[in-house]
């Protein structure tokens, strides 16, 4: 099984083969993403209003999947960077770089929808709650990662620096999460409490899972498209004869 995986990965280490695969996959992937999301939104529209929260409960169907994707995105970057740095898989850097802005946008979406939800629920846009704070810090880690990519013009150098940061940053994420939890449970005043969360009713659960699946496919589709762009950009760069612009 592992051997097979290794073979597949070695096969697609060649960017040309990857591009051929991507060309075949990317349309179906986008179609799937749009389809699942559309079906999910349709289900969300028919979810009954919550007895406590009214219609604002519908934010949940964007917020929670976005929050999941923020975590998934960073794990994705980490795995891609390890692949690139340790196993020298050439597509690793491409994948990591492509996924970063996508993950950052999902993180921002989680933050914004959370704030929008927080206003009716808690009467405030923001609290220094453990979970919220760790998402904010995660967002900064994303920003630092993207900024590093952009700040270094030379691609190979930028790639190495960024993968070092991705790996070290990944170790940091659980540490932040754990420390923030402790910080907050010790000192969070009882007056600000998160909404009591009853076990999720199936009416809510299934649409949520569908939306989650939709977001996941959307993430993959966006990342794949950005990877294709990245490979094309690198090719143009490499093919540019001397005297022609190396970047497009």
């Amino acid at each position: 099984m592992l051997k097979a995986l290794e073979n597949i990965s070695a096969f697609y280490a060649n960017p040309t083969r990857f591009m051929a695969l991507a060309r075949q996959v990317h349309r179906p992937l986008w179609a799937l993403a749009i389809g699942v999301l559309a079906y999910g939104l349709y289900r969300v529209a028919y979810v009954p209003a919550d007895y406590q929260q009214g219609d604002s409960v519908r934010i949940m169907f964007v917020h929670v999947p976005a929050a999941w994707m923020s975590l998934f995105g960073y794990s994705f970057i980490f795995i891609a960077s390890v692949t690139a740095l340790i196993f020298r898989h050439p597509l690793g850097h491409v994948a990591a770089r492509a996924a970063a802005p996508v993950g950052a946008v999902f993180t921002l979406l989680a933050l914004i929808t959370g704030s929008l939800w927080g206003q009716p629920m808690w009467g405030t846009w923001w609290v220094w709650d453990a979970r919220l704070t760790s998402v904010l810090v995660l967002f900064f880690i994303y920003l630092g990662y993207i900024a590093l990519w952009q700040a270094i013009d030379e691609p190979t150098r930028a790639a190495r620096a960024a993968s070092i940061l991705a790996i070290v940053g990944f170790i940091n994420v659980p540490i932040v999460k754990f420390s923030v939890d402790w910080w907050n449970t010790l000192h969070q005043p009882a007056s600000v409490s998160r909404l009591a969360r009853p076990a999720l009713h199936a009416d809510f659960l299934y649409p949520l899972l569908i939306m989650g699946a939709g977001f996941l496919v959307l993430f993959l589709a966006l990342t794949l498209t950005r990877m294709q762009m990245e490979v094309l950009r690198q090719r143009l760069r490499a093919r540019a004869p001397k005297g022609e612009p190396p970047h497009v």
């Binding site: 846009w125 910080w183 000192h187």
Partner: protein
């Protein structure tokens, strides 16, 4: 555009261009948010406490972000020989200095100030109070840049003079911070007039505008000897 104006514009826009190209602008804004995020870790997450301290904290964080950026305002130009060149243009050196300061203000300080409302939300300032804080910062920030520039220029001939900039500029920042924070607090308490504070801040900025370019130009000239 006349030749002199073109030179002024070129110096100002080159500075902005370099700030943007090297990601300084985005980074300054992120720095503000990160500092705002770090504070609750030190101070504890109580909302009421944070709200009470917010205007003051925002001012202090603004001042520190500003200082961090100012440090290398003239340093790079000094080291790579650009200052030598800028002394040999047909524009008074005071005007050259002003062009650089203006570029710095537009590229780094203004975006920082415009990010303050969002940062204010993180510290839970009520949205209705933000305009006052913003107005106070717009009135007071030119003074911070101009006075910080004096520190930066005095520190320029000292290798790694970064902290020296800070040391020299900070005493000048005290009045601005006092009135700035007072304006912010007045904006929080209904019934206290904000106008006088804003007036004082604007006056501080105007006074710095008269003073700073000459002081900076003189400091840079003597650093180049």
């Amino acid at each position: 555009m006349s030749g002199l104006m073109r030179i002024f514009a070129a110096i100002c826009s080159q500075h902005m261009h370099l700030s943007w190209r090297s990601g300084q602008t985005m980074l300054a804004v992120s720095f503000l948010f990160i500092a705002i995020t770090l504070l609750p870790f030190g101070l504890g997450p109580e909302l009421k406490l944070l709200r009470a301290l917010a205007p003051g904290l925002l001012w202090v964080v603004l001042a520190i972000s500003l200082l961090t950026g100012l440090e290398r305002l003239f340093q790079a130009d000094y080291e790579d020989g650009t200052l030598d060149r800028l002394l040999l243009v047909p524009l008074a050196f005071e005007a050259v200095v002003l062009a650089k300061l203006l570029g710095h203000y537009l590229a780094l300080v203004l975006p920082l100030i415009l990010a303050v409302p969002l940062a204010g939300l993180l510290l839970n300032i009520e949205a209705a109070r933000l305009p006052v804080l913003l107005a106070a910062m717009l009135c007071g920030s030119p003074a911070l840049v101009l006075l910080g520039g004096i520190g930066a220029s005095l520190a320029v001939s000292v290798r790694r003079g970064g902290l020296l900039t800070v040391l020299i500029a900070m005493p000048f920042y005290v009045p601005v911070l006092i009135f700035g924070a007072a304006a912010g607090r007045a904006g929080l308490e209904t019934g206290v007039a904000v106008g006088p504070y804003l007036g004082i801040l604007a006056a501080l900025s105007a006074a710095s505008l008269l003073l700073a370019p000459f002081a900076i130009a003189a400091a840079l000239r003597s650093a180049l000897r």
